[in-house]
Point group: C2
Chain length 344, copies 2
DNA sequence: ATGAAAGCGCTAACAG
DNA sequence: CTGTTAGCGCTTTCAT
């Protein structure tokens, strides 16, 4: 049977209340007593019982807040589903979650949203934002005020955030290169890269991983064009169409971000799908359909649902352990999807 | 705030004890009262609070038993790790787990092990066994006695088991065919299939999925040999060596079960690795190494860790909800692993 | 500064 | 047949 607060109290010859005070570093305990209780607790290997904590805490339910740039971006649907799964599983423990959705990556919108979350007195935050100095400052501000913050999907580096939960973008790019190298029969690759934005680190890392991977495999390749779709399908359609027309030698399209549907429509419009190997990321419904149709050879996913779910679980764990256990980053897997396993 | 037993008691004008009795279908309650309480509970949307249940149940800790044919089969290491992860997460709720490991698939050994589990008064069982009549009977026997049973990794069909947690073997084979079709440049495939046992359904389903998948892709192929390794590396080595020597036209090896290392050693011995596409299942350490070396083109994994973890979580959920929520099967994903993402 | 007691939701034991 | 009570581990409040 696990050791409880009562056991410690008995051994230390104090009351349960005192033990509780010591364990939470609350003021008003004699230093010697505190020392004694602490060492006994450690010695006995005490770890608080979740069920007990949760039950006692029911009077003040736990609330988490999330910030996601998810408006107009179906990728986040699965991530949000993961968040809600976590909420459901923790409902018995009094946890409820608010998701604040914003549109795109405008710095001021994000700063304002973060401020709103801060003012809303949550017990924990879960944030996908942009890695710029102002946001970093805002995050650190929150962390200093004692509120735990987990970054999701996109890290915000060098801040006091608890941990990061999300993909390794470079790894995704490298995996695409690895698969492509297995599929290619020594003919030279003329590659069109369609990225989302030159200013988003994850997109750049995917491209870097991809080209580095091709080099590592000693592939004979040339990047013919590098287009910026601004994660917009129309933009992707227009730019891809033009590029393909002007560069008929292209035999491979690497879509590093959103705009998958637009780029693929351009390809289909020009009836080039049979002569092109197309790779993409994520599996939003339109991408799924394109994989099933065989337009896209494969798409790489990075467990969006798990990202949301794990982030919530970690916030809760952190609260339960009062931050005494260090939090490690969780890097989600790179999942290869082809027509056969896209529905998994 | 969620509705509690107390709320129901007040509304039904009975005591909490009575409500508890009704909710657990215990004898000794006036039929009319029971009816009233039940309808009020339903109406108010009552669902028992886990934390409360768990705390109250601490006097009689929960014990689960598992049966795995894991001795000498490293595949099960990850599955066991998943079981222990579940145990760790539920430790606060008084859950502990015994894993009974047996060697191979001998019917009598399994029957005896199942008997031992039954006699051991667990609150739930998690079983990987063989789908034969005697085992079915033994399982049904246990289920009838009121003990929930979940089948893991290999289903035991048409029994009263709660649900199955594990892969879809056919799907795995079909995915292998899909990937192979993407990698192949129209030359005819001469295929050697190395299976584990002709009597294990999962192995047969993988082969069926594979050949059906190749047909669906209109691949030009011929199965030259079909070998039975008995999941043994030495056996696999010997048979594969002979077959490859006698059939030099073979350019593709499909390893449907264990024996991966043996088969690959035969290939390397004959220096044929550069002329063969090799596919396998699972990612035990030796298989991982072979993928990284490039001997195996890809290996397909079916989330062994998740299988163990989910099975335990489901058993616990079932206990917590007193079996009032129906349990659905969980089919694990088919994960494609190539050198770049094998460590994920 | 510390102890005592109540209560979170649920179940089990006892009392009628 | 049903109500009452105690207690699981923990936190909080009140009393000392």
């Amino acid at each position: 049977m696990a050791v409880t607060i009562k056991d410690i109290a008995r051994k230390a010859e104090v009351s349960r209340g005192t033990v509780d005070r010591v364990l939470h570093n609350r003021k008003g305990v004699n230093a010697e007593v505190a020392e004694r209780v602490n060492s006994i607790a450690k010695e006995m290997g005490f770890s608080p019982n979740r069920a007990g904590k949760v039950l006692a805490a029911r009077k003040q339910p736990i609330r988490f807040g999330c910030l996601l740039p998810s408006i107009g971006n179906p990728f986040f649907n699965d991530l949000i589903a993961g968040i809600h799964l976590g909420e459901k599983e923790l409902a018995d423990y009094g946890v409820s979650i608010d998701v604040l959705q914003v549109k795109s990556f405008d710095k001021n919108i994000h700063l304002e949203a973060i401020k709103r979350l801060k003012d809303n007195r949550y017990q924990g935050l879960c944030i996908t934002s942009i890695d710029v100095p102002e946001v970093k400052e805002a995050i650190d501000d929150i962390v200093i005020s004692g509120l735990p913050v987990i970054t999701v999907n996109t890290d915000i580096t060098s801040t006091g955030r608890l941990c990061y939960v999300g993909p390794d973008y470079t790894h995704g790019g490298r995996t695409a290169a690895g698969l492509l190298s297995m599929m290619n029969n020594e003919e030279k690759l003329f590659i069109l890269i369609v990225t989302g934005s030159f200013h988003i680190k994850g997109h750049n890392e995917r491209i870097k991983g991809f080209t580095e991977g091709l080099e590592a495999h000693k592939m004979n390749f040339e990047v013919v064009c590098l287009l910026e779709s601004m994660d917009d399908d129309e933009q992707a359609f227009t730019l891809t169409s033009e590029c393909l027309k002007q560069n008929p030698q292209i035999n491979c399209v690497f879509i590093a971000a959103a705009g998958v549907k637009g780029a693929c429509e351009a390809i289909m419009h020009l009836h080039m799908q049979d002569h092109l190997k197309v790779m993409s990321f994520d599996d939003i419904p339109s991408t799924k359909a394109l994989v099933k149709q065989g337009i896209i050879s494969f798409t790489l996913c990075q467990e969006p649902r798990q990202q949301g779910y794990i982030a919530i679980q970690k916030l809760f764990s952190h609260l339960m352990s009062e931050g005494k256990t260090p939090m490690e980053d969780t890097i989600t897997k790179t999942i290869i999807k082809i027509p056969e396993n896209i529905e998994d």
